[in-house]
């Protein structure tokens, strides 16, 4: 009672870029050795990155903490340290009871094994005893909705079935502390609802939940307190509503271009994003009844055949309103190295409200950039007293007397 299930004190994690023991080339190794010999620290350049810097927090038993922040804010690092997958550079974490994690579910699945075999194996990987898994087996199968395929090797599953089964196993883990990383972004809308329901159950059953998500609405529903991480530091920690308001306000696209920190070594890097109003002026406050333009600048450093770009616009509850890919209307880009500006004109069809802008760059084979919260924007104007509608098409009627 009144005890903390998670305690984190002055946690920091440093990653050193370009200094891999295993992956580095001989030349790099020789260079490093030479630098060490001459007692010179390698100078210049962002070689050290603090993924977390002096983070402290407590979650009481039975509490739920939401964690938000842009890509690279340190959310995943925090989870990895709490689940003991990686070690902190400094600081201490304490967890009470068994820790269960839902981080990219299904990674322990083997394609050749059947659904049931994978349920048991994955359960064991997550720390469940065979007995425990057996006890909850029916519940797991029922939740996953793939009863009929439990004796089929999972390599024959569709990706949706695969994820549903994987989530079902992880969600039924009897852990005292549950760490959840963006798993709700998988599956269809109905399954997502089911997952959210399950998370609410977990919380009601008195377990402690740490929930990382880009879905601000889900955070608002599940977590009374929220942590906002920004570049590894605690930007805000407290009442969810206040933290979310601050996050959205800070994330509103400025009346200029938002630039992104350069991450050297990446094939493609996002440089900036801006919203341009009908007059071509950058603005974060747009009128609902006028078209606006999304302008994305990015740098291609290495040749990417079939380069593609996608703009995703979501409502705050996470409903995807737009997902416009470059390749929908134009042939895929040749992807030669260089700097690019891409613009997408959006007609005045979206309803009044707040939106999240996400950006994806990649090819048919891989995701190179995925910035889920590239920024927020607000569309202002009259709702015409119909605030609930999502799109606003002003379709033309034909009315005749007959």
């Amino acid at each position: 009672m009144g005890r903390n299930a998670i305690e984190v004190e002055h946690l920091s994690k440093r990653y050193v870029l370009g200094q891999h023991h295993g992956g580095g080339s001989l030349r790099e190794a020789a260079g490093n050795a030479a630098a060490r010999l001459t007692r010179r620290r390698p100078t210049g350049g962002p070689e050290e990155v603090w993924s977390l810097k002096d983070v402290s927090l407590q979650v009481p038993e039975g509490g739920a903490l939401g964690v938000i922040g842009r890509n690279g804010a340190g959310k995943s690092t925090l989870l990895k340290i709490l689940t003991r997958i990686t070690e902190p550079t400094s600081g201490v974490t304490r967890t009470r009871g068994r820790v269960g994690a839902l981080l990219e579910v299904g990674t322990g699945f083997h394609p050749e094994l059947t659904g049931s075999e994978n349920v048991y194996l994955n359960g064991a990987v997550l720390g469940m005893s065979r007995q425990e898994t057996a006890r909850r087996f029916d519940e797991i199968v029922d939740f996953s909705g793939v009863e009929r395929f439990m004796d089929t090797p999972v390599k024959r599953y569709s990706s949706g079935m695969y994820l549903r089964l994987a989530f079902a196993v992880a969600a039924h883990l009897e852990a005292d502390v549950m760490l959840v990383d963006e798993v709700l972004a998988v599956g269809d809308a109905e399954f997502q609802r089911k997952c959210l329901g399950k998370m609410a159950d977990v919380e009601r059953s008195g377990r402690t939940v740490l929930f990382v998500s880009h879905n601000l609405d889900a955070i608002a529903r599940l977590c009374p307190t929220t942590l906002w991480l920004d570049q590894g530091r605690v930007q805000a920690l407290g009442d969810t509503k206040e933290v979310l308001d601050a996050y959205i306000t800070a994330g509103l696209l400025p009346d200029s271009r938002r630039t992104f920190a350069d991450r050297p070594g990446e094939t493609v890097a996002l440089s900036s994003v801006a919203l341009l109003d009908a007059r071509g002026q950058p603005s974060g406050l747009l009128r609902r009844d006028e078209p606006f333009t999304i302008e994305v600048r990015f740098v291609v450093r290495e040749h990417v055949p079939g380069l593609d770009l996608s703009v995703v616009v979501q409502t705050l509850p996470g409903l995807r309103v737009l997902d416009e890919a470059w390749s929908d209307s134009a042939p895929p880009h040749r992807g030669e190295p260089g700097e690019y500006v891409a613009t997408l004109r959006v007609p005045p069809v979206l309803a009044v409200g707040e939106y999240t802008l996400g950006l994806w760059i990649g090819s048919a084979y891989e995701t190179l950039v995925w910035e889920a919260d590239a920024g927020f924007f607000r569309l202002d104007g009259s709702t015409m007293e119909r605030p609930d509608r999502l799109v606003h098409l002003s379709l033309s009627w034909a009315v005749q007397a007959c």
Binding site: N4, E7, Y15, H20, H21, G22, G23, K80, T83, R84, I85, T86, E87, V92, T93, R94, T95, R96, G97, V99, A101, L103, E104, T107, G108, H110, E112, L113, E117, Y120, L121, A124, V125, L126, G127, S129, R130, P153
Partner: protein, 293 residues
Amino acid sequence: MNRTETAPRPRRSTEKSVLDRMSGLWRYRELLVGLVRKELKVKYKGSAVGFLWSMLNPALYLVVFYFAFQVVLRNRIPNFAIYLLSGLLVWNLFSTALAGATRAVVGNAAIVKKVSFPREVLPLASVGAAFVHFLLQSVVLLGALALFRYPPSPTFLLLVPVALVSLLLFTSALAVALSAVNVYARDTEHLIELVLLAWFWATPIVYQYRLVADQLGEASWVYRLNPVTPVVLTFQRAIYNRIEPSGLAILPAGKGVAWYLGQLGAVAAFSLVVLSLAFRLFGRLEGNFAEEL
């Protein structure tokens, strides 16, 4: 704050003692069993004869070596099939376990990066799977014994379990160490194949122990520094059970159960030391697995 099992504890895996690691492993023993089962299931999934392949392996070796050594090179060892199998099964257990274990952590990068569990389970599962194959291959040996109505030594058979425990300890020690080292130096998995090839010929499996030991004379202990040799010798003594048939010196002469026990005891003691060092090494290297993979 009290420091019982459920109490929060400061955690740095470097602080974990070997005993802590062992108790962690014990809690995850079901995962170990599950992974062994997975390895076996996956290996023969989709193959028509399945586990027969495990038994075909020594049978084919037998044919090849029989042809090469008895027919072509005329090595005169009587009942060569029994002699070869007694040593070869031991070797197969050792070498398949190490070859698999070296790749175990790297090969399971996906779960190592996402889920927390005692990572030593991965190399140990390779040892476990190799042990199951060993049991299957023993069927071939039993078949050969029955076919030739060949009598093993009842006394020395009692030493076989001791030899197996020593071998499993030694194999596990190397397995744990190699799996961790391979994460940082991927050359290990290629190097180990060559080392195992040389090691095979440094162990009296296809030729007789006395061929080397008699040449060394007083210094024959040097030859037995190879921890696999005493294990192989015990198997040969128990199953092949001929020291100098038809005047050919094969196994150590005039050595009783005590001598064999002493040899195996030394292997086991040495292996325990190596095993505790291997766990310590694994603990040191484990902290950065997620970043290195």
